[in-house]
Amino acid sequence: MKKVLDILSSIRPEFDFSVSDDYLADGMLDSFDMITLVSDLDKAFSVSIEGADILPENFRNLAAIQLLLRKYGVDT
C-alpha cells in the first residue's frame, strides 16, 4: 500500500492521497495523470496493465488500485 501511495505522491506531490476516497472527483488525478500512473505501476510491480483496464473506476482510490493490481497477481 505504501508503494502505491508513494507512486501517487510522486505524480502529484501537492495532494495527500491517503485521505481521499475518490481521487478523480476530488480533482487529485486527471486523465493524463492516469496514464502516467499506469506506466509507473507497470514498472514498480513488473506488470502490464491492459488497455481494457485503464478505466477511471480502477484508479478511483487506493482500494480500487489495489484490487486492480491483485488481478495481475500483485499483493500490495
Binding site: 495532494f15 476530488d26 481494457a52 485503464i54 478505466l55 477511471p56
Partner: protein, 275 residues
C-alpha cells in the same frame, strides 16, 4: 469505419488494443462526455489490428483520437485515413511529455498531418497568505441571458482548430455553476473568463479581453477575481500557446509555472480557415 452506438462498444474497441511499451492514446474523454458524444451520434470508429481511430464530427472539421499499441501501429492506421474520410479536415491533439509524444507526432506528420500549434500546460499551487482584497464589483458572474453574447465573443477570439469553442449548453452550465466571469462597458462585453473546478483542481479554460480594451487592466481584474474565487483550490491549471512569450510572462506574474505536459495540435487540412 462505423458509427458508435453505445459506450460499451467504444470501451470494447479501445480495450481491444494490446498495451506495449509504446502504447499511446489521446482519448481522454470522461465517461459522461463519451456518453454525450455517442448519444449525439458524432463518433465513428476505424479499427485496425493494433490501433483504433475515433473520429468526432465538429462543425467544420473532425477531431481525431487514437488508441494504438505503439507509434508504428498508429502510423499504419493513419495511412488508411484518406480512404475513410477523403474530404475532411482533421485535427488531433497529442498530449504528453516531449520525449513521449515525439514518435507519436511523427506518425501523424508521416501521414499528411502538419504541426499547427503547440500548447504548454502551466500550473499554480495554492499559495499561502494570498491577501486578496474583496470582490471586484466590476467583475461579475455572467447571467443566462448573456449566453449568446458570450458565445459570439468567444467565436471572434478563438481559433477553432486548437481552442474548443464551448457549446451553448456548456456555457449555460458554466453560468449556472458561477464559473463564467465577465466585465462590461455599457452593454458590451469587454472580457470573459471561464473556469472549471473538479474537487481540489481548477482549470482556467478561457481568459480573453476584447481587442479594444487591451492594456487597460481588464484582464488583470478578471484574473485577480478568478484567483480570489479559487482561493481554496489546491492546484490551478491552464494551457498556453508555447511560443506566446507575452501570455506566459503574464501567467508567471500570477504565480503560474510551466508543467512538463505539452499538447501538439496536428492538422490534416483540406480547407483554409478565414483569418
Amino acid at each position: 469505419m462505423h458509427l458508435v452506438t453505445s459506450t460499451k462498444e467504444l470501451s470494447h474497441a479501445i480495450g481491444s488494443v494490446a498495451r506495449s511499451a509504446g502504447y499511446t492514446t489521446t482519448f481522454y474523454a470522461s465517461p459522461a462526455q463519451a456518453e454525450n458524444w455517442v448519444e449525439s451520434q458524432s463518433l465513428v470508429v476505424i479499427r485496425s489490428e493494433q490501433a483504433v481511430l475515433i473520429l468526432r464530427r465538429e462543425k467544420k472539421f473532425h477531431r481525431l483520437y487514437h488508441v494504438a499499441r505503439d507509434a508504428t501501429a498508429l502510423a499504419n492506421a493513419l495511412a488508411a485515413l484518406p480512404e475513410a474520410v477523403p474530404e475532411a479536415t482533421i485535427v488531433a491533439d497529442v498530449i504528453g511529455t516531449l520525449d513521449i509524444i515525439r514518435p507519436v507526432v511523427g506518425a501523424y506528420t508521416e501521414n499528411a498531418f502538419t504541426q499547427y500549434k503547440r500548447l504548454s500546460r502551466m500550473y499554480r499551487l495554492k499559495q499561502r497568505l494570498e491577501g486578496f482584497a474583496g470582490q471586484d464589483a466590476e467583475v461579475v458572474c455572467a447571467a443566462p441571458m448573456d449566453v449568446e453574447l458570450i458565445q459570439a465573443f468567444l467565436d471572434s477570439h478563438l481559433d477553432p482548430l486548437f481552442e474548443q469553442i464551448p457549446s451553448l449548453s456548456q456555457l449555460n452550465d458554466a453560468i449556472s455553476s458561477g464559473s463564467l466571469l465577465v466585465t462590461r462597458q455599457s452593454a458590451d462585453l469587454t472580457g470573459v473568463l471561464i473556469f472549471n473546478t473538479i474537487g481540489l483542481t481548477t482549470t482556467l479554460r478561457y481568459w480573453h479581453v476584447s481587442h479594444r480594451q487591451r492594456n487597460r487592466g481588464v484582464g488583470a481584474r478578471l484574473m485577480r477575481e478568478f484567483l480570489r474565487r479559487c482561493e481554496s483550490s489546491a492546484r490551478i491549471l491552464l494551457w498556453v500557446i508555447s511560443d506566446n512569450a507575452d501570455a506566459i510572462s503574464k501567467y508567471r506574474h500570477y504565480g503560474f509555472q510551466e508543467d512538463v505536459l505539452v499538447d501538439d495540435i496536428v492538422v490534416r487540412q483540406m480547407w483554409m480557415p478565414t483569418p
